[in-house]
Symmetry: C2
Subunit: 380 residues, 2 copies
Amino acid sequence: MVPTQSESVVAGNLTQFEYLALNSSLNLADGHARQELTAGQSLIVEELPRLWAAAVKRPVEEVERDAQRAYFELLGQHSHPADEGRVLSCYSSSVAMEIFARSLASRAQSIALIHPTFDNIPDILRGVGLRLVPLDEEALHAGDLDDVLLRSVQCVFVTTPNNPTGRVLPESGLRRLAQQCAEHDVVLTLDTSFRGFDPDAHYDHYAVLNASGCRWVVIEDTGKLWPTLELKVGWLVSSADVGLPLAEIYSDILLGVSPLVLSMIERLSQDAAAGGLADLHRFIAGNRAIVRGILGDVPDLRFPDPASRASVERVDLGDRSGLAVWTALSKHNVFALPCHKFHWADPGQGDHSLRIALSRTPSSVAAGSKALRTVLLDSR
Amino acid sequence: MVPTQSESVVAGNLTQFEYLALNSSLNLADGHARQELTAGQSLIVEELPRLWAAAVKRPVEEVERDAQRAYFELLGQHSHPADEGRVLSCYSSSVAMEIFARSLASRAQSIALIHPTFDNIPDILRGVGLRLVPLDEEALHAGDLDDVLLRSVQCVFVTTPNNPTGRVLPESGLRRLAQQCAEHDVVLTLDTSFRGFDPDAHYDHYAVLNASGCRWVVIEDTGKLWPTLELKVGWLVSSADVGLPLAEIYSDILLGVSPLVLSMIERLSQDAAAGGLADLHRFIAGNRAIVRGILGDVPDLRFPDPASRASVERVDLGDRSGLAVWTALSKHNVFALPCHKFHWADPGQGDHSLRIALSRTPSSVAAGSKALRTVLLDSR
């Protein structure tokens, strides 16, 4: 447990805000999945002792390959390179991120990073000594990147679907971005941790990346999708010619992830393919409708991401301060996430919004939204 | 799965040698626990669905504190600072190591590191930009450290029990080393991943460290002790005045580890305290006796660590090359670990030894030892 200061003291980064929520009954802060298990998922948890016994008997390579196939195929990523050994299984997407960052820093000085995005990404990249250049999400979606920008960096990093906006880079946009990266010999890195929630992100990214000829890295994450008590895998995937010491630095950090977790992910992927994923999409849409229903008529409040299907929802608070609302809300023992730190290069842009986690029980989402409604109406 | 090259090609580091063994039937390479579950441990695996249901209902802080108490108390570490929030739970000891290394590199340039030791420690430290100064294991045990050495570094790093030698820093030695570190304002860092195997390492290190007044970090590891399919925790523990941004960098990498894994570790610690740990010590001693019994009369062969109780055994091959023996052994599908890379500053010192993992079924240890005996006798 990380020591947390009294709630009135502002945390230093988004994860530190999330620590403050961890032991509260109404934690709408972190993006981890904390809803109840579905009936199908409960059966898989009951199976754990059997999955353990089966995993002990099989070569770990087989267990890993089966889990990778099931997960990547579930999300439409048919051209993933698992058979070529270019999918490295990590304890989490952040561990994959750390390995990527350390590898990149050994070959590069500068990276263009989507803005806004979750702040542990810029913090890890800065922490290993890289210079960051903000890549505005609007500019990314508006058309070609500026040649001057591309000449000034050795990597472009895009989170898609983005966190907290939920915005997805469409196939045409990825194709053009990858072509530009190929032309400038810039590595294109994608963080697709929220991919599972949005079918618009289920086109085959690996086919597009391979066709472009660019050097690329993708970080995939099973950790946001299912309420698995933090048992998860982050996958660090790369092109054959990536030119970064990913496998070497991986081998400094781990021998491999748990075959039990891999087996569980294979089973959860099968359950999702058999209808569980569609159920999850309906579940998140239902929780989003609860938030919008309860807060929709609060004066000067807006939902800035109307098309988002991610498991988080941003709320624009008008002229209210996100931090002041967060503080008032925390006095009701409800914890959301103030958004200023997502805007890592210009926190002021996020000063008036909150992020609400939707991977929770509907009753928690409703209770948290009602408390937020009370706080917002009281502040008028 | 990390791509591995053909077996005749030498791997770049010890973990890469371990990958080569992962899918073989006779893997005596890595130090992870791969023996069969005991009857008591099997019951805990059967309990996993119940532990899951219980963990969901409790604040993660409580689950974590209970696991920490059970594990640290089991190994005699009564003065551990879990109640002060100075025990950070990581996915593994290597993740704890990475967080420590990045924190240290933000404040320091040079570190004295025990020699030999497992090579991912120097590789991670070098990877974050630190300058390494070898600290010979013999010199460490011979008496006071050289003042010139202590003035040239900002940290001293000791693995105890050491890997691969099994050598334990005794209480008197730790007291004097910690005093010297206090006098020179040098951080003292201990990696105690193999602590569980040796009662000589069960004196209360935290009491000694606290009394010394030095700044200190300890990395503890549940991962070597029990055959838990890589489900484990690395604990990153520090003094109140450590002066390193450990909690900040921790928060860049993770929100927390799995409450299911924590609950399992609590139960395994209870089982160990009720007799399981003594059973494990007898089990490892039995496997060590198998290795020594089968290989003892091979000409020019020596066991250089007669007092070791660690779950690995070094074999000195006389004038034979460790790499040549490893290659011949691998043709029998038996994989051990050549020792040259443990001697990270002078690989030649390890050119004539192999490390054999003992956390395996006795039949595997016997079969591997017999194959090694054949290889060694054939090579005469």
